[in-house]
């Protein structure tokens, strides 16, 4: 019990004094996850919209596969990305292993199906609502997708935030492909795992508080967006 209280006090001290290591690790976490969310959203949002409005033979199978990919074990994703980026792998020549770029690649693979699946659900409902109007106005497929993405932007931002929530808390894949290298690829989750192992609960708890703060911020942001949806003025 003493260790926990001591750790909490030390953690608060690190937070209040804006400890350099804490800031560096937090900023790297944000850099990796925000970049992964941006790429994942750029792929997942149009993919979800496309799956919602396009009718093709194996559409149901594609949606089932997409939903199944939401449950991809991050450690397995990390292993596959590791094998692809390692020296002997097909992309080894790029020298990306143990860099933030490798961590972004792994996170993109993990969060894109989640973003696409939530986007698909949201756009499918909106498409059912807009179908007659957009067909009647003789819109092209591109115009339909753009309209649905714009008018469904609030649930789609929620999809991206869900991707952020999954990415920021992820540890298995980025530990494997990033290597948890100090001042290079160490992020909040991998640092917490390391510091806990070392018995440095102060830094581990400090990092944990930051992680909890980021998760709460995402949830509050999601809630706030939901409220604007019901607002009188847009």
């Amino acid at each position: 019990m003493y260790d926990i209280w001591d750790g909490i006090k030390s953690a608060l001290y690190l937070l209040v004094t804006l400890d350099r290591d804490l800031i560096e690790i937090t900023l790297r976490s944000l850099q990796v996850t925000l970049m992964a969310v941006a790429i994942g959203s750029a792929i997942g949002l149009p993919l979800g919209a496309w799956l919602a409005i396009r009718r093709f033979r194996y559409r149901r199978v594609a949606i089932a596969v997409l939903n199944a990919f939401m449950g991809l074990p991050p450690v397995v994703v990390g292993l596959i990305v590791y094998l692809l980026l390692s020296r002997s792998g097909p992309f080894g020549v790029f020298g990306l292993l143990f860099t933030p770029t490798a961590m972004i690649i792994a996170q993109v693979i993990i969060i894109t199906p989640l973003i696409a699946s939530i986007a698909h659900q949201a756009i499918r409902e909106l498409w059912a609502e807009y179908h007659d109007l957009l067909i009647s106005l003789n819109t092209s497929k591109g115009q339909r997708i753009r309209t649905l993405i714009w008018d469904g932007r609030r649930p789609l931002i929620t999809a991206s935030l869900a991707g952020f929530g999954r990415g920021i808390g992820e540890v298995g894949a980025i530990m494997i492909v990033g290597g948890n290298i100090d001042h290079a690829t160490r992020v909040l989750t991998t640092a917490i795992a390391l510091e806990t192992g070392k018995g440095d609960f102060a830094l581990a708890l400090g990092l944990g508080f930051v992680l909890i703060f980021l998760s709460l911020f995402v949830n509050f942001a999601t809630h706030a967006l939901g409220r604007t949806e019901r607002g009188r003025f847009w």
Partner: protein, 236 residues
Amino acid sequence: MKATLPLKLRDVCVRRRGKTLIGPIDLSLDAGDLTIVLGPNGAGKTTLMRAMHGLQRLSSGSINYAVPTVAARDAQAFVSQHPIMMRRSLRDNLIYPLKLRGTSRDEATVMAEDWAARIELTHALSQAAPNLSGGEKQKVALARALITKPELVFLDEPCANLDGHATRDIETMLLAERDVGRTLVMSTHDLGQARRLATRVIFMLKGRVHETGTADSFFSTPKTAEAVAFLKGDIV
């Protein structure tokens, strides 16, 4: 620019799960009329309107405009019984079809504000369109359909579920459009409304066109027993 009309339907049938919803229907629509598609519930009015506009796939038969289908689709609009409000402000709902046609934002905004004034909703321009009342939504849907000056407008029971004031406002707008020569095709089962608006009537029953003609001849001398019964208010 070549006129879209006349519109010709030949042996049009729509079936779903083995059941014939409408057809076979042979019909011709000319420019300048306010045609009322009249009939009881379940007569196939909505299916016919959707088929003519291209929202309903045909099981057999053909629908031909005087111009190629793509050009014809650009020259028409559709207003449904349940107005579809985009999740945007009233202003942006009115601007949307104009922007699709390449109108500049400034010009589209001026036109949207002009139409908002016509439907007496200037005060609500910045409001979320889905939060408007039923009557206001229907007026917005009608304004959005008319703002691109389509040659032909289909209206599927636009006054269903509206109160007397909202119905009168919609009818006033439709009469103004009829007077400027726009071709309107509107379905309704409201006899009073049909008498007030129609220049031509298509009477439907059980998925088929039972009788067509000018409004005067249909209401004064209906040709079929079913039309006589319907006009008397009997259940047909």
